[in-house]
């Protein structure tokens, strides 16, 4: 075991021991924070999957992905405005609206992301590595500018249309919303896993990620496969944006920067390019952020999360589940 690996394990062990101590001393509070972390982490996992898929296939850190996620919430809020939804309770109209709007937002975001890839990233595919990275930052600012022009700098209200049923078990409060977030995220991740492992297009994606030139020689349409990757990444980001809106009921135009970075940290934590790793990393980062919020103080959460980002990249660049690959 090398020294960096050793440092990584020592850090993880220390954190787990400290958390276990908290769990024994105040079990109620611990479970409450755990539930909150799980819901947050589910959303981060959905966003992190998009980062990791795009990185896996074209080695680009798609900075605009966090803003695609935020734009998903904006679009969802706009489309929901066409329905006679009631924010007081859960009506049939709410259910129908939800069932229609959720996939609609996912598809719209998928289309937008494919357009972004076509306009901003495809012309740069053979350019030096830093060029698409800077373009991605530019795209991120562009999307933030679009959202700013659309709704201004203030937070935007997202309709509160989910059932408000909630219960308290042994001092721990949880509602329908918490269950909804985790279940929807789990279903989407499962569908993604099936898609990647069982379908022909999924196989093409895995092949392209492994070796683009060889995949092309095997008759895989690279442009189509990469576009499909962006499409699916944005489906998940759009779903994440919808879930975020339904859960927190507010969005603002710069949400994507901070939460996108946190989701990217999750992707790195799980091993960038590794799909189960991103889902796991999202959950863990969500939990870490929630624990840091309540045990260290919310003003330190950002330092903790980005400290983890730097720490993982320095001590274990392959993340939790990633394998060591030789540099190309």
């Amino acid at each position: 075991m090398s020294l960096p690996d050793f440092g990584f394990y020592v850090l993880c062990a220390t954190a787990i021991v400290l958390l276990a101590a908290q769990a024994v001393i105040h079990p109620g509070e611990f479970v409450q924070v755990f539930i909150f972390g799980l819901t947050q982490g589910s959303i981060y996992a959905l966003v992190a999957l998009g980062y990791t898929m795009v990185y896996g296939i074209i080695e680009l850190i798609n900075f605009a992905h966090g803003d695609v996620f935020t734009l998903g919430a904006y679009v969802g809020s706009a489309i929901l405005g066409f329905f006679a939804i009631s924010e007081g309770g859960f009506t049939t109209v709410n259910l129908i609206a939800l069932l229609l709007v959720f996939p609609a937002v996912m598809l719209v975001m998928g289309g937008i992301n494919v357009a972004i890839e076509r306009v901003a990233y495809r012309p740069l595919r053979n350019a030096p590595r830093l060029a698409p990275l800077i373009t991605a930052i530019g795209m991120s600012f562009f999307l933030e500018g679009v959202m700013f022009l659309w709704h201004g700098p203030a937070t935007v209200h997202f309709p509160d249309i989910l059932p408000k049923a909630a219960t308290t078990v042994a001092g721990v409060f949880f509602g329908f919303k918490d269950v909804f977030v985790v279940v929807v995220a789990a279903i989407l991740v499962a569908l993604l896993a099936i898609f990647i492992n069982r379908t022909k297009l999924g196989k093409a994606m895995r092949a392209t990620a492994q070796d683009r030139d060889a995949a092309q020689l095997m008759g895989i349409d690279i442009n189509r496969t990469i576009a499909a990757t962006f499409f699916i990444g944005a489906l998940l980001a759009g779903a994440g944006g919808m879930i975020w809106g339904l859960y927190y009921n507010t969005v603002y135009y710069q949400l994507g920067f901070r939460s996108g970075l946190i989701a990217f940290t999750a992707a790195v934590f799980g091993g960038i390019g590794n799909i189960p790793g991103a889902a796991l990393g999202g959950l863990i980062i969500g939990l870490i952020a929630a624990f840091s919020d309540s045990y260290i103080g919310s003003k330190w959460t950002q330092v903790v999360v980005f400290g983890i980002l730097i720490g993982v990249l320095v001590f274990r660049p392959t993340g939790l589940l990633g394998m060591r690959v030789p540099e190309k």
């Binding site: 830093l130 930052i137 530019g138 003003k299």
Partner: protein, 400 residues
């Protein structure tokens, strides 16, 4: 790989001529600007703006060393700027009297200018040492994380730094003697004893011009040095550079440290000039603004970066903030309703996001055809060479 090295060497004489022209024009402009603007606007507001632009020029020159010369993408450059600014602000104000140290320091600006330089360079080395072995885009992320953490730390350690309340009342530089003339107001020539920079924007303007001139000379010499060539070799192909015997980690660390030291310089100057340092002045948007300045001016081109910084500063901090007012008066004059006018004016306010996005994209897609061309036709470059044999021309170009 050798394409850009080749063309660069080939065009070197022409580029040097263009640089001379640009520097001469900049020098004349720098000399004329304060007198002209004071005469034209009857105030020193424009000179203060130019001084602010000057700090960005200094930052862009520094970031150009990291991004342009060594090819390391640094997305957290504002962090070093913040470190430089705070290292001056804390030791040249009454801030530390109300901290657990219970003692206010008032160290002289001229000393702290260099202390801030070394502190920022040390911060760069501390961050760079473990991270510079990472690949390019991972490095970008680490610096981005660092750039997010540093302002948050200054915000969180509010016992020492005042946190959100910022550090105010920072000492202004003093000099034993200063010459005043018609350029700093309407007074005659006179030598002022025990001169204090406070309240004299022209003095700050002169100071930043001198700092920029020193930085330009320094960076130009670095560019032509053995170290500069090593940076460019790493930028073009790190594996080949390592094979040529360049110690890539040390070389990259030097680029990082030297780049950071410029922002330490700029930070200390900023603290003294504005006399107020708050964590909010060093957010991600500052790092990106400086990066876009470098990209706009042309990565690795010193005179281009200076012009890029000046142009972008003008657009982002002068043209766009003034735009709502201009749009409002324009809309009023052509008879639009006040409602439309207001929404138009609001819409212009965050135009800089769009401009950054568009600018970064335009530059990058403009750069791509050459890159993909050379990837497709690796021998295209030989045709422009006068030499008959490809091998001998390669040897000649490397030995120059």
């Amino acid at each position: 790989m050798s394409t850009s090295v080749f063309t660069r060497l080939h065009l070197r004489d022409r580029i040097r001529d263009r640089d001379t022209a640009v520097y001469s024009i900049l020098l004349i402009l720098a000399l004329v600007f304060p007198m002209a603007s004071i005469y034209a606007t009857d105030g020193t507001a424009l000179v203060s703006q130019a001084t602010r632009a000057g700090t960005f020029v200094l930052l862009a020159i520094g970031l150009n060393v990291v991004v342009g010369f060594a090819g390391l993408l640094d997305l957290g450059y504002a962090a070093f700027y913040a470190i430089g600014a705070y290292s001056y602000a804390l030791f040249a104000s009454t801030q530390l009297a109300s901290s657990p140290a219970h003692h206010a320091f008032h160290l002289p600006f001229w000393l702290m200018l260099f202390v801030a330089l070394f502190v920022a360079a040390a911060a760069g080395a501390v961050l760079g040492f473990p991270t510079l072995r990472l690949r390019g885009d991972y490095l970008a992320i680490v610096t981005l994380g660092f750039g997010e953490i540093v302002p948050q730390l200054f915000y969180n350690f509010d016992q020492w730094t005042g946190g959100i309340n910022a550090v105010g009342g920072i000492d202004q530089p003093t000099l034993p003697a200063w010459i005043q003339g018609p350029w700093s107001g309407d007074g005659p020539f006179q030598v002022v004893r025990n001169f204090n920079f406070g309240g004299d924007p022209v003095a700050f303007y002169v100071l930043i011009c001198i700092l920029i001139a020193a930085a330009i000379i320094l960076v130009n010499n670095l560019y032509r040095s053995r170290l500069g060539r090593a940076w460019m070799a790493i930028r073009e192909d790190e594996v080949a550079a390592a094979a040529m015997g360049i110690n890539t980690v040390t070389t990259k660390l030097l680029a990082f440290g030297i780049g950071a030291s410029f922002s330490g310089f700029a930070g200390a100057f900023y603290g003294a000039n504005v006399s107020l340092v708050s964590p909010d002045s060093f957010l991600f948007i500052v790092s990106i603004t400086v990066l876009v300045m470098v990209v706009l001016g042309g990565m690795g081109n010193i005179s281009g970066v200076i012009i890029g910084a000046l142009v972008l500063y003008y657009v982002v901090y002068y043209l766009i903030p003034g735009l709502p007012e201009n749009v409002r008066s324009l809309a009023n004059s052509i008879g639009l309703s006040s409602e439309t006018t207001r929404s138009l004016a609001d819409a212009t306010q965050h135009l800089n996001y769009i401009i950054y996005g568009g600018q970064a994209f335009r530059r990058m897609s403009g750069a791509s055809p050459t890159a993909s061309d050379s990837a497709l036709k690796p021998h295209a470059v030989w045709r422009t060479r006068p030499s008959t044999s490809t091998t001998s021309s390669t040897a000649a170009s490397w030995s120059r």
